[in-house]
Structure formats: C-alpha cells, structure tokens
C-alpha cells in the first residue's frame, strides 16, 4: 500500500515537473538551434545573389583586360628594344 502511494506521488511529481518545463519553453521556432526556413529570415539577413554574380562577371573581365594590357605593355617594350638593336646593327 505504502509502495503504491509512493509510486502515485512520484508519477504526480514527475508530471508536474514536465508541465512546468513545457510551460517555460519558448514558442516553437525560437529556441536556439531550431531550424528555420530561409524565407522567414528578415530580409536584412538573407544573402543577396546579384552583387556576387555581378562581382564574379566583373572579376572575369578585369583579369582578362589586365592580362591583355600586360601583354601589350611587354610587347611595346620588346619592340622598342628590337628597333634599337636593329638600328645599332645597321650602323656598324
């Protein structure tokens, strides 16, 4: 009899404790670590795609233009040297 009473009291205490715990939990979706769909993020926290895409295309153009410019610059220098050397050879 005593054991039955103790069991019932134990179950009631555990139930009461669970109820208190559930009552203290934040609403669903707001506890740390909860998964949230990206569409529910405030707009300021979503990463915009357009600047990254435009930036990537700009990088391609910049790298290619810089490379073409560097070839042109080196070519000018070498052509100047060639012209100078040819004139020196001819004047010998």
């Amino acid at each position: 009899m005593k054991r039955r009473v103790m069991t019932i009291v134990g179950v009631m205490l555990m139930t009461a404790g669970s109820l208190v715990g559930v009552a203290q939990q934040p609403p669903a979706g707001q506890a740390p670590g909860d998964f949230l769909p990206v569409s529910s993020l405030p707009a300021v926290e979503q990463l915009p795609a357009a600047p990254l895409m435009i930036g990537a295309y700009a990088v391609v153009w910049v790298v290619l233009l810089v490379y073409v410019w560097s070839i042109w610059r080196r070519m000018k220098k070498v052509e100047g040297e060639l012209a100078d050397l040819r004139s020196r050879l001819q004047s010998r």
């Binding site: 990537a56 990088v59 391609v60």
Partner: protein, 218 residues
C-alpha cells in the same frame, strides 16, 4: 594566323558583348537561382585552365625531348594562360559558393586539387622568371607534372565525397541552359587561341632580341 588575327579579335569582342544577354535569357536554376549564372563563365574558365595545362605540358615535353625552342615558347604562353584562367576559376568559384553553400571555401577534393594545380603553374612561371640558366628544363619538367595532375582534378568530384557538382552537370544541362553555356565556352576558346597566339609572338620577339644581342657581340 597573322592576317586572321584582327578579324578574329573583333569576333571575340562581339561574342563577349553578346554573351551576358544570352546568359540572361537562360532559365533560373531551381535550387540556386540567380547565382547559378556564374556557371556560364566559371566552367569555361576551368576548361581553359585544363587545356592550358595540357598545352603547357605537351609543349614542355616536346621542348625537353626534341629541344624545340618553338614548343618552349608555346609552353610559356600556355603556362601564363593557365595562371590567368585558374585565377578566374578560383575567384568566381568562391563567389558562387558563398551564396550556394554558405561558405567561401571548402577544403574538399575538387577545390583543393584545383588550387594546387594553379599553384603548380604559378611555380612554373616563377622558376622561368627567376630560376637563372637552365631553368627552362626544370620548369618544363614541372609543367609535365602539372599536366599529369589534370585528370585527377577532373575526376576528383566522382571519386571523393565532395560538395562540388560532379562531372555530369554539363552533359545533362537543360535545353535552355545548353545554348548559353556552349556559346560562352566557344567565346572563351576563341579568346584563348588569340591570347595564346599573342603571347607566343611576344616570346618570339624576345628570342629575336637575344639573337640580335649575340650578333652585336660578334
């Protein structure tokens, strides 16, 4: 090639001017959306990185075994282009990844091996530039080693667990994406041939300068 250079250069500029509009007409990818359009420049650049590595490696092999100076000049030109196109791949890729994966970089098989391949050709150029006498042969050996890495970089996405899309993507493109992709690939390839020709011409002129210096010393 000399006579065709200017018209081909004009054609390349025209193709590059049209490409963004053609890319804009492609449909949005269903999971990645707008950022997936980086694919139309990123993948052709990667293809040209691999092509440059092969051209540099083959040119270097011909230089080493047949002592062909002309092959060496092509190898140098291709080595520089490997670095240029590799740089494009390694910058545009992370910009795409930041939006698609949420991170700029992952040390997975494809990204890491691509970075190493690019670094090998940077090392090739540094050895050519600062290595002193005999550096042509050493750098040629490095280029052959770099070329041998290309198949591993390509299949890395199929053999290792990686976040990078695998090699089936290009072959299974939807009809709306195939046209813009191959248009961009053709534009890049034409540009590549022109840049390779130009850079090889620069090496030829440098060789002429050396010969003239030797003639002056006589």
């Amino acid at each position: 090639m000399a006579r065709a250079f200017t018209p081909l250069a004009v054609l390349a500029m025209l193709l590059f001017a049209i490409a963004p509009f053609y890319v804009a007409s492609a449909p949005d990818e269903q999971t990645m959306g707008l950022i997936q359009r980086v694919f139309y420049y990123h993948v052709p650049s990667a293809m040209l990185l691999f092509l440059s590595a092969f051209v540099c490696g083959i040119g270097s092999a011909v230089f080493l075994f047949k002592r062909s100076a002309a092959a060496d000049r092509v190898a140098v030109a291709a080595g520089e282009l490997a670095v240029a196109f590799g740089l494009i791949v390694l910058i545009t890729g992370p910009m795409w990844a930041r939006k698609a994966w949420g991170v700029w970089w992952q040390w997975d098989a494809r990204l890491t091996s691509s970075l190493l391949l690019w670094m090998m050709f940077v090392a090739y150029l540094l050895v050519r530039r600062y290595g002193g006498p005999g550096s042509e042969k050493l750098s040629a050996a490095m280029a052959i080693f770099g070329m041998a890495n290309v198949p591993f970089v390509y299949v890395s996405v199929n053999f290792w667990r990686t976040i990078h899309p695998n090699t089936n993507v290009v072959m299974t493109l939807g009809s709306g994406m195939r046209g813009p992709f191959w248009f961009c690939a053709a534009s890049f390839l034409l540009l590549y041939v022109l840049l390779l020709t130009l850079r090889r011409r620069l090496e030829e002129q440098r060789a002429s300068v050396e010969q003239l210096y030797l003639a002056l010393d006589d």
